[in-house]
Symmetry: C2
Subunit: 229 residues, 2 copies
DNA sequence: TAGATTGTTAATCGATTAACAATC
DNA sequence: TAGATTGTTAATCGATTAACAATC
C-alpha cells in the first residue's frame, strides 16, 4: 500500500483541523481586499493566535510560503480549501425536519463549505412530500432505497435524542460514512464511521460555568445568596 | 479577598467543562431507570471515556463518591447541575431572528439547561412586533433600553457575519457579559467578557477532512481522480 | 475477608510555545 | 546588506493515562 508522505492528511491534530476553517475566513476577507500576500503574524493577529502555531497549522495542510514575503493569499486559500475538501461539495442527507433541521436546510453557506443537502427525511407523515428551502422531505422508510441510488456519504442528524441512535443505525447500514450529530447523546457506530457531535449543551456548559465563576469573582456576596437559595 | 478552596470553579480545564454536560445526560437516563448508584467505569463505558478521567472530572466539579459503592446518582446530578449553573436558568437575549435564530428560539430544552431567552431583536422592521415561539421580537434600537431594565447577562448572536461585530459591541456596551456566538467570525470583546463561538464550519472542517482522508485511504485511485480534476 | 471502587500522586503523551538557522 | 519571515528543532506546558494506597 502506498504511503503519501507529501499528502499531509495522516495524523493532523484535531485542534489544527478546528482552526483551519477560521484561516479560510480570514483569507476570504483578504481576497476581497485584494491583498496578494499574508504573513502568519497578520493571520495570528486577526484570530488572536500565536504566529508559530499558525505557521505549523498551515504546514500541516501542505501550504508553503516564502521567507520575508509570506504566503500568496489566493494560493493559500486554494490549498486549505482543497485540504478540507470544500472545493467540490459532497452530497449529504438530513434526517429530522424540525426547527433545527429546517434552519440547517435553509443555511445557504453550507454549499460553499463543502456540503450540499440533497434530500431530507422525517418520521412524521405530515412533514413529508413537500419541500423545505427547496429540499424534498421524504418519509424515513424511503431512506434505504434512496441512499442506495444516491451514493451519499454524509448524514446530518437533527432528530430528538430518543430517536438518534436508531436513525444513526439506519444511516450507517445504508452507506453513510460520516454522521454530523446534533442530538444531545453519544452515538455508537461501527468502526470506520466518523461521528462529529455538535452538542450545543457542551458549549452552554462552558459558557454558563465561566459566567457563573466570573460573576462570583466580582461579588463574593452572591455566593451566600446562591448557597441560601 | 476570600479564596474558595472547596468551591472548585477556578482553573477547571476546558476539556473537563466540555464533558460535564455529557455526564448530566447519562445521569438523567439513570435517574429515569431509578438507579441509586453509579461508578466511573459505568459512566465511562456509556461515553467511551477513561474511568480515571471521569473520576477526575467529577472531582473538579466538587462531587464525592464512596469507595466500592460509587456515586449516588441523584446527589451527583445535583452537584453537576449546580456547578454548571443549570438549576436556576439565567435570562438571555437573542439577536438575529433568521432561520437559525428561530430554531434556537423554539428549542425547548434550553430552559432545562440553564438559559431562558426573554427577548429577541432583529434589524429588519418586518420581523419585529410579533412573537416567535412565544418570544417577542423587538427592533435593534430598543436593545439598550430593554437591557438596562432586564439585568440580562447572556447574549445569543445569530446574525450574519458582517453584522456580528457591531451587534456584539452593542451587547457588551449594554451589560452583556457572555456572548454565545453563532456567526462564523472571530469577535473582539472588552476584557472580562466571555465569548463562546459555535462555528459550525469548524466542525464541518473536521468532518469533511476526516471523511476525505478515510475515503482516500480506502481507494488510493481516488487520489488520481482528484488530482486530475 | 476479598474485591471493587474512590482519591491522589506519578508517568506519559501530545499540543503549544520558544529558539534559531535558512532564505528572500 | 539588513530585516522580516519561513521552516524546523527543542523546551515547555497541560491534559490524559497509569499506578497504587485508602476505603467500604
Amino acid at each position: 500500500m502506498m504511503e503519501h508522505a507529501d499528502n499531509p492528511i495522516h495524523g493532523v491534530p484535531e485542534p489544527t483541523l478546528r482552526r483551519l476553517p477560521a484561516y479560510c475566513q480570514v483569507l476570504q476577507r483578504l481576497l476581497q481586499q485584494e491583498c496578494a500576500f499574508v504573513s502568519c503574524t497578520q493571520i495570528g493577529r486577526a484570530l488572536d493566535l500565536d504566529p508559530t502555531q499558525v505557521r505549523k497549522d498551515l504546514a500541516c495542510a501542505g501550504a508553503a510560503g516564502r521567507p520575508k514575503v509570506g504566503y500568496p493569499v489566493d494560493e493559500l486559500y486554494h490549498t486549505l480549501e482543497t485540504f478540507l475538501g470544500w472545493n467540490n461539495a459532497r452530497d449529504a442527507i438530513l434526517v429530522g425536519a424540525g426547527h433545527l433541521g429546517t434552519a440547517l436546510l435553509g443555511y445557504r453557506p453550507f454549499e460553499q463549505y463543502g456540503v450540499r443537502i440533497v434530500a431530507a427525511f422525517d418520521g412524521a407523515p405530515e412533514k413529508c412530500g413537500n419541500k423545505i428551502h427547496n429540499v424534498m422531505v421524504f418519509p424515513l422508510e424511503k431512506m434505504p432505497n434512496l441512499l442506495e441510488r444516491l451514493n451519499v456519504h454524509i448524514g446530518i442528524l437533527t432528530v430528538p435524542a430518543e430517536a438518534a441512535q436508531s436513525v444513526c443505525d439506519m444511516m450507517t447500514l445504508n452507506g453513510i460514512r460520516a454522521v454530523w450529530n446534533f442530538a444531545p447523546i453519544a452515538l455508537t457506530v461501527p468502526a470506520g464511521v466518523i461521528v462529529q457531535s455538535e452538542n450545543l449543551f457542551s458549549s452552554l456548559g462552558i459558557l454558563s460555568s465561566k459566567l457563573a465563576a466570573q460573576l462570583r469573582a466580582e461579588s463574593p456576596a452572591a455566593d451566600l445568596k446562591e448557597a441560601i437559595r
